[in-house]
């Protein structure tokens, strides 16, 4: 999966329009990044990448790039 495809997947998970995010986007600046969005992210990461995100890891996400870094 390319970085662009991963960003598209994050956008879809967070219910954002395509092209809204870049790797540098600061998550605190994204209105839609609320508790439900974080839950959606947890489920998506588990389903698509087999990655189990903990609360601490989620809290550590500052930018979209931080999320991309665990999408392996």
């Amino acid at each position: 999966m390319t970085e662009q495809e991963k960003i598209a997947l994050i956008e879809e998970t967070l219910d954002l329009d395509e092209g809204t995010l870049t790797a540098d986007t600061v998550l605190d600046d994204v209105d839609e990044y609320d508790s439900m969005a974080k839950l959606s992210l947890i489920v998506m990461m588990d389903d698509e990448f087999g990655v189990k995100l903990t609360g601490d890891v989620i809290k550590g996400f500052k930018t979209v790039g931080d999320i991309l870094a665990v999408m392996n």
């Binding site: 974080k38 959606s40 989620i58």
Partner: protein
């Protein structure tokens, strides 16, 4: 001294016996004199619970209830090896959170298998001729999710509501043998599942809700275990087809 919840001479199957509620229930039933047959998926954990059982005459079986088609053979095996049962405490279950847009049929089936279909299959098989004593008792662990709407809990809530619906019909189907069927409806219980939930979803409104609304505090597993013991005992001889709510005041808050 009297003990209305005395379970001496009763053989009781406890499923999900390695979980927080299941393990507490199994141990408490043994303390009350029951012969406890525990089953769970993890052999090591199951052995740990088995070693905590008090008294004699207990047994353990490693079995995955999600393998629904194998339940019939499993019940036949425990009936053959252990004898007739007087009770079942169905404590197995999963409680995933999953937003609606990500809840596909396969996710629903996974939850239904664990929380509902395995229960009905166990009851179907164990209540066959010579498998279950007349006037025996069956208890299933439900949840307040069965009556309360929550975000991201479609599959879980549906499974628990269906479970409560099922017990009322099971009572009718098992009327002839006077087998009682009830459920327990806890809200937040202090188990590893709960702790994992708090760790994993610290920011969700539900976690905040625990402190605000469940004002009598998070329920300890022993309280659920004692309620199960009561429903399994002769102290509850004519209580059937109902559910006992243990929600620390949540639904009244």
């Amino acid at each position: 001294m009297i003990n209305p919840m005395d379970l001496s001479g009763k053989r009781i199957l406890v499923t999900g016996a390695t979980g927080g509620i299941g393990s507490e229930t199994a141990v408490q039933l043994s303390r009350l004199g029951a012969n406890v047959v525990i089953c769970g998926r993890n052999e090591k954990k199951l052995q740990g619970v088995f070693e905590c059982l008090e008294g004699e005459g207990h047994a353990r079986y490693v079995f995955d209830l999600n393998d629904i088609d194998s339940i019939e053979g499993f019940i036949k095996q425990i009936n053959d090896e252990q004898g007739v049962f007087n009770g079942v405490a169905f404590c197995a279950g999963i409680a995933p959170m999953r937003p609606l847009k990500m809840t596909k049929r396969k996710n629903m089936i996974e939850v239904m298998d664990a929380n509902l279909f395995s229960f009905i299959e166990i009851v179907r098989c164990i209540t066959k001729k010579n498998g279950f004593a007349d006037e025996g008792s069956i208890v299933a662990i439900s949840s307040t999710a069965s009556i309360q709407g929550k975000q991201s809990k479609v599959a879980y809530s549906a499974s628990k509501a269906a479970l409560d619906g099922a017990i009322r019909c099971l009572v009718c189907d098992l009327k002839k043998k006077k087998i009682r069927v009830n459920s327990i409806t806890p809200c937040w219980v202090n188990t590893k599942m709960y702790q994992g939930y708090i760790d994993r979803y610290p920011d969700t409104f539900e976690v905040q809700e625990i402190n605000e609304k469940q004002y009598m505090g998070v329920t300890e597993p022993i309280e659920v275990a004692n309620t199960a013991a009561f429903l399994l005992s002769d102290a509850a001889k004519t209580i059937t087809g109902t559910t006992v709510l243990i929600d620390g005041g949540m639904s009244q808050g």
